[in-house]
């Protein structure tokens, strides 16, 4: 007999952990959409945020103060990176830009190490990871909390982009950068807004991932988790990042439980990549990517 209850439990657990992948992926998408840069340093930014926050808390800074201070630092970091590294490289080839962010990620990691040392920190957000039951299905309290935070963040961004002037300018720049320049939109402002948003995403994702995995240098590798999500959802679609993250999360968990035993376990590390690769062959632009609004 197929145990549906267990299946749903695994599925829900997967979807919830997928939300955390979405979060990392959205950081990429925001920047990619507006400047065509695949910001590989997103992972380093995430690590930097988590490490800064933990180190402040460990030095006795109260939670909310540490959170605000880290937020400010991340925004400053984001804007500085945009201004000193990416703006001078505007109109360069995508490869150049990618290499720049790759280099940048090492610099940011190095700076984090220099500043806060190399030891592993535990991060306690005050949410116990005890499972609780909804209609016979066990759900992790922490996963639910993380999903709620991520959902709130995404909704806030969505409303911001839909209803504010800066949001409209963002969508215009993402749609046609040359036209945006021509109508007089100030691209540097839009970029500053985007890097601010990316800084905020890095902070939230850093705290959630840090609480789950511990704050250590391998944290910056969660960007690698975002890649299959981006392949699946499309590099330029926020909706794609969300759906892609959920899908990857669910696929990973289901594969781990139902397919893993056939391979003797350890499948989580690469299942997402297999799916992403397969998908790449069928639909290179992703589920939602570059959906050109075009009249034929």
């Amino acid at each position: 007999m197929f145990d549906y209850q267990f299946f749903i439990e695994v599925l829900v657990g997967g979807l919830l952990s997928g939300v955390m992948y979405s979060l990392v992926a959205i950081g990429f998408v925001l920047i990619y959409k507006t400047s065509g840069v695949l910001n590989f340093a997103q992972g380093a930014m995430l690590l930097f945020a988590a490490l800064t926050f933990v180190s402040l808390v460990e030095r006795g800074v109260p939670f909310w103060l540490a959170l605000s201070a880290t937020l400010v630092i991340m925004v400053v970091l984001g804007i500085t990176v945009e201004r000193t590294v990416l703006r001078p490289l505007v109109n360069q080839s995508p490869m150049t830009l990618f290499m720049a962010t790759l280099g940048l990620s090492y610099i940011i990691e190095g700076a984090a190490q220099l500043l806060w040392g190399t030891q592993v920190h535990g991060l306690d957000l005050g949410i116990d990871d005890v499972p609780f039951e909804v209609g016979g299905v066990l759900i992790s309290q922490f996963d639910l909390f993380a999903a709620a935070i991520a959902g709130t963040l995404v909704t806030t961004f969505a409303l911001f982009f839909r209803y504010t002037r800066t949001g409209l300018a963002f969508r215009a720049v993402a749609d046609d950068q040359f036209a945006a320049l021509a109508v007089g939109l100030r691209l540097p402002r839009v970029w500053a807004a985007v890097w601010t948003a990316a800084g905020i995403v890095a902070l939230v994702a850093g705290l959630l991932w840090g609480a789950r995995l511990g704050v250590q240098f391998s944290l910056s590798l969660v960007v690698l988790k975002a890649l299959p999500v981006l392949v699946l959802g499309g590099f330029d679609s926020v909706a794609g990042a969300i759906v892609g993250g959920l899908l990857i999360g669910a696929i990973e968990k289901l594969a781990e439980v139902y397919v893993g035993p056939l391979f003797g376990g350890g499948i989580v590390a690469w299942a997402a990549y297999v799916v992403a690769l397969g998908f790449l062959l069928v639909r290179p632009s992703g589920l939602f990517g570059q959906k050109l609004v075009e009249r034929v």
């Binding site: 215009a172 046609d176 036209a179 945006a180 320049l181 021509a182 007089g184 075009e294 009249r295």
Partner: protein
């Protein structure tokens, strides 16, 4: 001072290598419509991009010459600043924000012009009065509207920024004659009633010369002729000149180089 825009000896390259302009000079006076004519690759778009300081975005650069807008050296002012000063471009190929709806396109133009919320609302009313089609299509994604509607959106978007000089690059491209007439007569109306100055690049010389006060002809990156539109209209050889091959043009050019009063006026 009645000169609104003065270009003096512009030279430009792409990638620091391909020479696109070598000597372009022209003047737009206040309240005037000036047509910029020339064959494919003559340098019309490059000239207009230089005027709006957009060349760098296509890896192009101005290597010589001066651009004066409204008595101020505009050679190195950022494009956003130029828009706020009243020099607003409508790009070749329309370049609407395809995923945004028509109204959002217009609002983006208002934001680019630095308008307040109330000014944007007023601007929308004005554009919808000029182009009633756009009002009907306001909620449609721009990329799904017809070519004519896209051109109207692009022009409406530029008008939102309250230009004093509108710089249009081939507004007639790919449009049915009737739509072209609608667009040009609307522009002519704005020119007559509000004194809007217009610089328009066109391959469709017949239409452009009918609406323009003066015209300049570009050939291989240089202005080779300038004069009253009425005067140029009468000279049939013009057409052969800038639609012909470079070799042919030289011969025609010689034929055209009879001094005329208009040439003196333009010089």
């Amino acid at each position: 001072m009645s000169d609104l825009l003065v270009l003096e000896g512009l030279a430009a390259t792409y990638n620091h290598a391909i020479r696109a302009l070598s000597d372009v000079s022209l003047t737009v006076r206040r309240g005037e419509i000036v047509a910029l004519l020339g064959a494919n690759g003559a340098g019309k778009s490059t000239t207009l991009k230089a005027v709006s300081n957009l060349l760098h975005a296509e890896r192009g650069q101005l290597t010589r010459g001066r651009i004066v807008f409204d008595g101020r050296d505009a050679t190195s002012l950022p494009s956003a600043k130029l828009v706020r000063l009243g020099l607003v471009p409508v790009l070749e190929g329309r370049h609407c924000f395809r995923a945004l709806n028509v109204e959002e396109n217009l609002v983006a133009g208002g934001i680019g012009g630095g308008l307040s919320r109330r000014e944007i609302a007023a601007g929308l009313e004005r554009v919808y009065t000029l182009f009633p089609r756009l009002k009907e299509r306001r909620r449609s994604a721009s990329g799904l509207t017809s070519g004519g509607e896209q051109q109207m959106s692009a022009i409406g978007r530029a008008l939102m920024a309250r230009p004093r000089l509108l710089v249009l690059d081939e507004p007639s491209m790919g449009l049915a004659p009737l739509v072209v007439e609608t667009i040009f007569s609307t522009l002519k109306g704005l020119n007559r009633e509000e004194g809007l100055s217009i610089l328009v690049a066109e391959q469709n010389s017949t239409v452009a010369l009918r609406y323009a006060d003066r015209a300049a002809v570009l050939d291989a990156g240089s202005t080779v002729l300038a004069g009253d539109a009425a005067d140029l209209r009468g000279r049939a050889e013009i057409k052969a000149l800038y639609l012909g091959s470079p070799g042919e043009s030289a011969a025609h050019l010689a034929a055209l180089r009879r001094p005329s009063p208009a040439d003196h006026a333009a010089a």
